[in-house]
């Protein structure tokens, strides 16, 4: 288990790091850069830093250039989302899961809505199921574009155009979202039993046209990275996650699949209409930084294929059950329910305990980035600080999910 510190006691992280240095020095381990007066140094990669994605603070103990220890300090973005659930009705809470992993909002909303539907026994309409899958997969593409773009931007600030091209292509997907749901990021689109709006006219054709371009986009990203000697040198063989690590630390998502662990919730515990769709689970071989990047690019291609299938299979019909009337209050029977949903970052779980009233009794998120962050000290130890930046970028963390 690794140490986490929250902003409630930030200086304790520094104190712990310094204490450990003192202990190690007393134990007789020397340093390599003693000539320059560098023994073990505690450095703060503070909450504002171009490389830590979001407000993550890493208290890094450096021995010259090597990282000896990393203590993450989180909580700078804590917004009490789990507590908020206790004071809002199930319906009022729907916009809020959007804001946990804000890059993959549709997926997070779906996780919450799925849990409540299971708890209350609501079955969504068939057309809405397909629309949900389309939106979630589109969001997967957009999220991976952010992940890959920022990862490459870590390695080469402005030094490669990939981040600009990826974000430019993502804009087109966000335009699709805006036409369908009204917003580019905080969608508030899912409802119990369906989705809020039906797709506007011409949306299906626009989406199809865009999805046919996705393989070309992925080829472009790969042409900038995959053969580039500098990228290869910085990414190959670094930050390897072994199968044991995946099991011990419960790593899920592309991070685990890059190590060859074929765990994809859309296949192992399918939900919604995924059993009817044909897609392959993208695996990597070596589990290093380059493989994690490659898995994400491959997943973009697979998501485009899924969306095209859904657009072809899209049935007619209503998109909402129509049974909910203002003031939109549902009271699920007492009980508890957990569903895991395949977020672009891993398994996004929502656990709701209901006591039969209009408000949830307890809502708990299982956030993939929070769990992946626990691997950091083990992963970064022994690497140079520049490699540490690359490795942390490849894990694709979103602080909104870690802090909630």
């Amino acid at each position: 288990m690794s140490d986490f510190f929250t902003t409630a006691a930030p200086d304790e992280a520094m104190a712990l790091a310094l204490r450990r240095i003192r202990e190690s020095e007393e134990a007789g381990r020397g340093s390599e850069m003693a000539g320059l007066g560098f023994n073990q140094v505690v450095v703060n990669m503070g909450p504002q830093h171009p490389s830590t994605h979001g407000v993550l603070r890493l208290v890094v103990t450096l021995d010259g250039e090597l990282v000896k220890d990393v203590i993450p300090v989180i909580g700078y973005l804590h917004r009490c989302k789990e507590k908020l659930a206790e004071k809002r009705t199930y319906f009022q809470y729907i916009p809020i899961p959007d804001r946990t992993e804000y890059v993959a909002g549709m997926n997070c909303e779906w996780g919450y809505v799925l849990t409540v539907e299971k708890l209350a026994g609501i079955q969504p309409t068939r057309r809405a199921e397909f629309i949900r899958v389309i939106m979630a997969e589109l969001n997967r593409i957009a999220s991976h574009q952010v992940g890959v773009g920022t990862f490459v931007a870590d390695l080469a600030p402005l030094g490669t155009a990939l981040v600009f091209y990826a974000f430019r292509h993502r804009e087109k997907i966000l335009d699709l979202f805006e036409a369908a749901s009204g917003a580019r990021m905080m969608f508030n689109y899912f409802r119990f039993g369906g989705v809020r709006y039906d797709l506007p006219d011409g949306w299906v054709e626009q989406c199809r046209e865009l999805m046919l371009q996705v393989p070309a986009w992925c080829d472009e990203y790969e042409s900038l990275v995959n053969d580039n000697a500098v990228f290869l040198q910085r990414c190959m063989g670094k930050g390897v996650i072994s199968h044991d690590d995946v099991g011990d630390y419960a790593i899920t998502g592309p991070n685990a699949r890059a190590s060859g662990v074929a765990h994809d919730l859309r296949r192992t515990r399918p939900y919604s209409v995924y059993p009817e769709l044909d897609f392959k689970v993208c695996l990597g071989e070596h589990g290093d930084v380059l493989d994690r990047y490659q898995v994400r690019v491959d997943e973009m291609r697979e998501s485009a294929r899924i969306v095209l299938q859904c657009l072809d299979m899209l049935p007619g019909g209503p998109v909402q059950l129509g049974t909910l009337r203002p003031p939109y209050v549902i009271t699920p029977p007492p009980g508890a329910c957990y569903t895991g949903q395949e977020n672009p970052r891993g398994e996004y779980g929502t656990y709701i305990v209901s006591d039969g009233s209009r408000y949830p009794y307890r809502l708990k998120y299982r956030d993939p980035c929070f769990v992946n962050l626990q691997l950091f000290p083990k992963l970064l130890r022994g690497n140079k600080i520049a490699d540490a930046v690359a490795i942390s970028g490849s894990m694709d963390l979103v602080l909104g999910g870690i802090d909630r």
């Binding site: 155009a161 805006e178 749901s181 042409s223 900038l224 995959n226 053969d227 580039n228 290869l232």
Partner: protein
Amino acid sequence: MLGILKAMRTTLGHLPQRKITVQYPEQREQLPERSRGLFRVVIDPATDDPRCRACTLCETNCPVQVIRVNYESKYALPAVNEARLGRERTESQPTPDLTLLAPVVDHYRETGTGMMAVLQHTQEIYGYLPRLALQEISLETGVSLSQVYGVVSFYNQFRLSPVGRFVITVCHGTACHVAGAPLITEAFSGELGIEVGKTTSDRLFTLQTVSCVGACALAPVVRVGDDETHGRMTPDRARALVNDLKHRAEVDR
């Protein structure tokens, strides 16, 4: 090396492509119809009526001051939300003569005295602050209507509903209270048939109470309008005063 050359070729391929920059504000992108980023008036599907009541609170509170609320007609009231305002209240104000406001607004423009002075002058002219007059002030001075209402509702001095011809003020300061002011207020109330703070239906009398007039030697004190002060009142004398005022009103007519 070859890989780097391939990357360079990809990058160079973007040079002749069309640039995506939208030169805002000369060019603007078309937002989709459902976009929540557009300002628009929401139509209530149940009544087919816009939900906006032109309260101009959005104009007041906008941090970047980009909202201007334009009413449809300069001299018509904004649409009345009958669910909230009683018919009585909306019809109780006679249409004021707005030409009387012109010198007030001109004075404001010349000297820049401020909203308080404008409102005080307006109240002197009409005896209260009619809704249409406030609207006219808002349109002429450019201050949003909700801000004007903000000033008006803050001070006790400003009256939003018309008062009677005779404003009867009963002092409830410490000396007057001890001398029996509540009984006097009760007498007035019974004689006129109205509660404290209200106006009689023939618009002759308004009854109100204040904390202290400052004439404690004459306790209990009653003032009529701004000019008359009656000291050492008793409930009988109060009823006599009411009759006297009614007589005076008839004579004046």
